[in-house]
């Protein structure tokens, strides 16, 4: 069972209070983009073994979306931060590096 802290309301709760929303920080390709770009945005996923940035919604709480940095091998949650963030903040990267020195970094 994951324990997640909602960065919007500050509540720490079990995962049943949240709903997962898939990979975070996807760059949207819409009208005018190539088929390859749209395919990559719409369907292809990193699906890493290790550090994963993903969207969650505090469905049975404040209802807000946020982003969690989590390890898919150990289920360790490194940090959560607001959804209005275009890329992982420096302090989150630092927290992950402290726990995973050989991490390749967010690509």
């Amino acid at each position: 069972m994951l324990l997640l802290t909602c960065p919007c309301c500050g509540v720490t709760a079990e995962e049943t209070e949240f709903t997962p929303g898939g990979e975070a920080h996807l760059k949207r390709f819409g009208p005018g983009s190539s088929d390859e770009e749209f395919d990559a945005y719409m369907f292809q996923r990193k699906n890493p073994r290790g550090v994963h940035f993903e969207r969650w919604r505090h469905a049975y709480g404040c209802g807000k979306w946020f982003i969690a940095a989590r390890c898919t091998m150990t289920l360790e949650v490194f940090a959560t931060y607001p959804a209005q963030t275009l890329e992982p903040p420096a302090e989150v990267i630092e927290k992950i590096r402290a726990r995973r020195p050989d991490w390749e970094g967010a690509q």
Binding site: E15, R45, R49, E54, M73, L75
Partner: protein, 414 residues
Amino acid sequence: MKRYSAFAIAREAFRQHKGWQRAWASPEPRASYDVVIVGAGGHGLATAYYLGKRFGITNVAVIEKGWLGGGNTGRNTTIIRSNYLQDPSAAIYEKSRALYETLSQELNYNIMFSPRGVMMLAQTEHEKRGYLRTERANALQGVETRFIQPSEVKRLVPIINIHGPRYPVLGALWQERAGTARHDAVAWGYARACSAMGMHVIEQCAVTGVEAAGGQVTAVNTTKGTIGCKKLGIVVAGHSGALADMAGFRLPVESVALQALVSEPIKPCMDVVVMANTVHGYMSQSDKGEMVIGGGADGYNNYTQRGSWHHIEETVRALVETFPMISRLKMLRQWGGIVDMTGDRSPIISKTPLEGCFINCGWGTGGFKATPGSGWAMAELMAKGHSPLTDAFTLTRFREGRFIDESVAAGVAH
């Protein structure tokens, strides 16, 4: 390879069972093979088997990072059925089910196929309409299913409560020739047959990289050295993303945990497989008497091969309403497997951007039932570059908008 038979048992009985051979050899890898298959689960071994059986390609190695059949092949609920809605799915799953019927004889290995029948309960009006549609689709596809009334459901499954207050049983989609099989035996039987054809099944050999030259695959790097290959088949289920990353492409796949559990063994009480998709739980009774229970997948990316407590609770809570007698059962074991989910919940059996590299993945929550059919089709694709059964399951179908949308067809969150 000595054949298994009643005579062999009698013969060995007279000499203290000293004449049994190892079912498959454990060779060291050669420098190169015509075909290397990554993943010695059911699908990988079936692919190798049909490459040899149908196309005479026996210079094949099947490499496996753990032990044979130790991934999802040993972690499923052993259900075999083919009552799918979409034509491409019905074709490959029905091929698979048909192959299962004679697999024990073909492999000379008892896979304990038990065509006990699978019933999918309709517990809402919407679901009933959905299954009536599937019944008609199946009739056109040549898959034998029929929609049965609640009274017949009760006759077939006396322990069921068809008058549930929230989810009454309104009928069921019944496939009489569906059933279960012994999952490990499927992998073992294929491995034995592959080994007998001279193929190498190499366990404890993890792939660490894929080598290519001029856009063509040339070798795989493994923990037992570099192994050259002309063709490479990636058949690794939940870890497909990691292998694809090594081969230099991405997949429309996410890996999540799916779990199952078994109860303490009890006397025979249910001789069919029952799936309740509205509440999302399914149950059958194993030959040992355990009730084998499966539920939904977790919603987030996960490689831990563990389940989560609240999903067990959800699944069992749902089933207790339909099967009141299981409320007193103790649960014995629980386990999780990593399943590779595609957006349309249909598999990918396809060429890849890397020439000579083929991938078979995305079976999600329902791969076991497809094992022989998947191997049959994948072998044809790898040998001939084309297979009628795999035409629809290409990697490019997402970009082209040609989904095989079983997720909507099933009407459940897989």
